[in-house]
């Protein structure tokens, strides 16, 4: 009902743009467009099974679109963090089931790249976390791992010293030393001049940090001491 316009006096002025909000709404639009694009790509893959076969360029198309999509989701998340509009609404979850659902989303891409994958978690490991936020972190970590792994990926969950630890392991060449040693540095907002911290890791740390219990905050750890011999990404949740 566009006829209920505000009196003209109100729209005679031109507002000074709130730049971060302009960016945020642009990012929002781009993200939704990419969502449509990804969905169409998926349909196309299904429709053109015979013609496309295992065309690696199709994988690249999908992979890159997924990557931009998850970057945009992160950007929006960071905007909301800055606006203090984001908080963790934790609830009880069966972690193995949750991880299966995360993997399912990337199944086609993993198959397309010929990457083997499995889940190492007891069926009744329970965790308290905000499933949407953690799901975003896992999606971007998986994306990253697909890029660096050789042939295998493993999602896992365990309880250790009263923490829930969710892991993403690959058999690539592992995280470089400066990333493994970043520690608390990860929580600092990305500094583009030094290029020291990646947006993805900052986002993951911030999301982990939003999770708290009895004064303890969640955190992430990177190391190369995994069973697959590559990098290990760990989210520690209190």
């Amino acid at each position: 009902m566009s006829e209920h316009r505000q009196p003209a006096a109100a729209d005679r002025k031109i507002d000074n743009p709130d730049f971060s909000m302009v960016i945020a709404s642009a990012v929002h639009d781009m993200k939704n467009s990419l969502g449509m694009l990804l969905s169409t790509l998926d349909d196309l893959r299904e429709e053109q099974k015979g013609a496309l076969g295992d065309n690696p360029r199709f994988n690249t198309l999908q992979y890159e679109a997924e990557r931009v999509h998850s970057d945009l989701v992160q950007l929006l998340g960071i905007y909301r963090l800055g606006e203090q509009k984001l908080s963790a609404h934790s609830d009880e979850h069966y972690v193995a089931e949750f991880l299966q659902q995360q993997l399912a989303r990337h199944e086609r891409l993993l198959q397309g790249y010929g990457v083997d994958y499995d889940i190492d978690a007891d069926n009744d490991v329970i965790g308290f976390f905000d499933d949407e936020l953690i799901s975003g972190v896992i999606a971007s970590t998986l994306n990253n791992a697909i890029r660096y792994t050789r042939s295998r990926l493993q999602l896992g969950a365990r309880e250790q010293d009263g923490w829930l630890v969710i892991t993403v392991e690959d058999d690539g060449s592992g995280y470089p030393a400066h990333m493994r040693e970043a520690g608390a540095e990860l929580l600092k907002a990305p500094d583009f001049s030094s290029g020291s911290t990646s947006l993805g890791l900052y986002f993951a740390s911030a999301i982990a940090h939003l999770h708290q219990n009895n004064g303890k905050h969640g955190t992430i750890r990177l190391h190369n001491e995994g069973k697959l011999g590559g990098g290990v990404f760990e989210i520690w949740l209190p």
Partner: protein, 550 residues
């Protein structure tokens, strides 16, 4: 170690279910049907828009709805969900899955009530659907004894079933505890509800349990405790809109309607698309005499109503009223624009709700005020007479009565307006909000700007009085009474000053003049109804005056 192909097969529980897929893209509908079939589903129906979805559900029962959020022109997925739940077309056992291209949190932020059972983020593939749907279908089946009892509105039975399923399905205990606590609140057993929330909170601070606990505190009448708990909750979770809603409600019930409005405004900024929240904000702002905010909120309420089951002719009328109030306060160009907008709103209302009771005469009353505000008394009288001829004066609703009284004031029929308000005050004696509106109208039957001016003068008069400046205070009250001659408190304030001056033997006051002025003040309040807050003060002062006269 489990493998990712999923060791339990869900197809048995999925096969029996009836599916309705709602999407505006044929490709998506077909690919969804294909995926569902491959998961074992046999009964699948497809519709292409929200209206069709609602209609199908009115005639048939579906176990699972897969509904796209964005359905192009017309109802959105959220509208469909709201309408189905509001009209009770969806069983408690039914699953409503919202399919979105967006991240779900934004959607959750939009809704005030009625959340879907799950969000599925596009792109959706078969593996993903199998995992999500399988888990949900399994939970649905396990909890059927509870949801069946809820469908029959047999809450005690639902509570019993929850208690007995708790040990059988530890996997679903989170859902069961949530549901159980809500059921206890519904049957009024706040003690049991509180115990559940306390038990959960003693282990972990979960936002939903904190909100539930606050709801119990509010229901038990512990307003202050509820307010503190909710303020902390909002601090920890600034994105938790339901907490803002409940906080606003608690503040309002505690008599802090200004703060309540601020809280609701913040929530409405975070999520501008929830119709009911905008409506509540509009009502609160009207009550707080913040007509600008009220008008904006009514405008949003009306616009959001286009496809919503919550649209209501009263919202359109209220927008028309607010705009008229604004136009009365401003004889200049902007006032004209408000008046024009009000006329458009009313015309649209008559087209949209031709069947609503008394809609013609009720819009006519607001129209009479619009033209009266633009100085066209003849036309105002004509509208007024038409409306009165069609309205049963002895059975007027409070809103229509107030509109009628306002219009009578605008065309100068003050006596009649006062008599009408007195009879309304009698009829709506128990309704505090209506009585307050009647009092305000009686005291200040003028436009917004003048009302504000009179209020400022009154405030300055009281300040002068408190500092002992009686003559100065009297001048302020006199000026205010020039604007609102029948304002009860103002008249009594002036009488109080004059009587004090006479008692003190103030030489600057001429006794005859002062007594005459008091007499005029009491005359102005002749029709003050006994329900008015100033009525007892009026009686007391009148008696005192009479004793002074003797």
């Amino acid at each position: 170690m489990i493998n990712t192909s999923g060791e339990h097969s869900f197809s048995t529980s999925i096969r029996k279910l009836r599916f309705l897929v709602v999407d505006d893209f044929e490709n998506f509908r077909n690919s969804m049907r294909q995926m569902l079939r491959s998961l074992g589903a046999e009964k699948i129906e497809l519709v292409h828009n929200g209206a069709a979805a609602v209609q199908r559900c009115a005639y048939d029962h579906f176990d699972v709805l897969l509904c796209n959020y964005n359905l192009g022109e017309g109802k959105s997925g959220q509208h469909v969900l709201e309408e189905l739940r509001h009209r009770k077309l969806l069983h408690h056992s039914s699953l409503f899955l919202m399919v979105t291209a967006e991240t779900s949190r934004e959607m959750v932020m939009g809704a005030r009530e009625y959340h879907p059972d799950a969000y599925l983020t596009k792109p959706i593939n078969r593996a993903m659907l199998e995992k999500r749907l399988g888990a949900l279908a399994e939970r649905r089946e396990a909890l059927l004894p509870v949801t069946r009892a809820m469908d029959l509105e047999d809450n005690p039975e639902a509570i019993q079933q929850c208690l007995s399923l708790l040990s059988q399905y530890p996997r679903h205990r989170s859902w069961i505890y949530k549901t159980l606590a809500e059921l206890y609140i519904q049957v009024g057993d706040y003690g049991q509800a509180r115990k559940i929330y306390d038990d959960i909170l003693s282990q972990r601070s979960l936002s939903w349990a904190r909100l539930g606990k606050a709801r119990v505190l509010l229901a038990e009448g512990h307003l202050d405790e509820a307010i503190v708990a909710l303020q902390r909750l909002v601090e920890d979770h600034p994105d938790y809109l339901e907490a803002y809603d409940l906080l606003s409600e608690s503040l309002k019930r505690n008599g802090k309607s200004g703060q309540a409005q601020k809280v609701l405004q913040r929530a409405a900024e975070l999520s501008p698309n929830a119709l009911l929240r905008q409506r509540d904000l509009a009502k609160l702002a009207t009550q707080n005499h913040d007509i600008d905010t009220a008008t904006d909120a009514w405008r949003r309420t009306v616009n959001l109503g286009t496809w919503s089951v919550h649209d209501n002719p009263d919202h359109h009328l209220a927008l028309g009223r607010s705009l008229t109030d604004l136009s009365e306060g401003d004889p200049g160009g902007e006032g004209k624009e408000y008046a024009d907008e009000a006329v458009r709103v009313l015309k649209h209302l008559e087209r949209r709700f031709p069947e609503a009771p008394d809609i013609g005469p009720r819009t006519m009353l607001v129209r009479a005020r619009i033209v009266a505000a633009r100085g066209n008394r003849t036309k105002a009288m004509k509208f007024l007479e038409e409306a009165r001829a069609a309205l049963p004066e002895d059975k007027l609703s409070a809103d229509a009565g107030l509109d009628l009284a306002k219009t009578l004031y605008r065309v100068g029929q003050n006596r009649e307006a006062e008599q009408l308000l007195a009879s309304l005050a009698q009829r709506f004696e128990g309704e505090a909000e209506t009585i307050e509106q009647i009092e305000n109208l009686m005291d200040e039957p003028v436009g917004l700007q003048q009302r504000l001016q009179a209020r400022t003068l009154n405030r300055e008069g009281i300040q002068a009085y408190e500092k002992g400046g009686l003559p100065e205070a009297a001048r302020f009250f006199e000026q205010a009474l020039d604007i609102v001659p029948n304002h009860a408190a103002l008249n009594l304030n002036l009488v109080q000053i004059r009587m004090k001056q006479l008692q003190d033997g103030d030489r600057s006051v001429v006794r005859q003049h002062a007594l005459a002025q008091c007499h005029r003040c009491f005359q102005a309040l002749e029709n003050l109804p006994p329900q008015h807050r100033q009525y007892r003060r009026y009686l007391a002062m009148k008696r005192k005056m009479e004793s002074m006269n003797e």
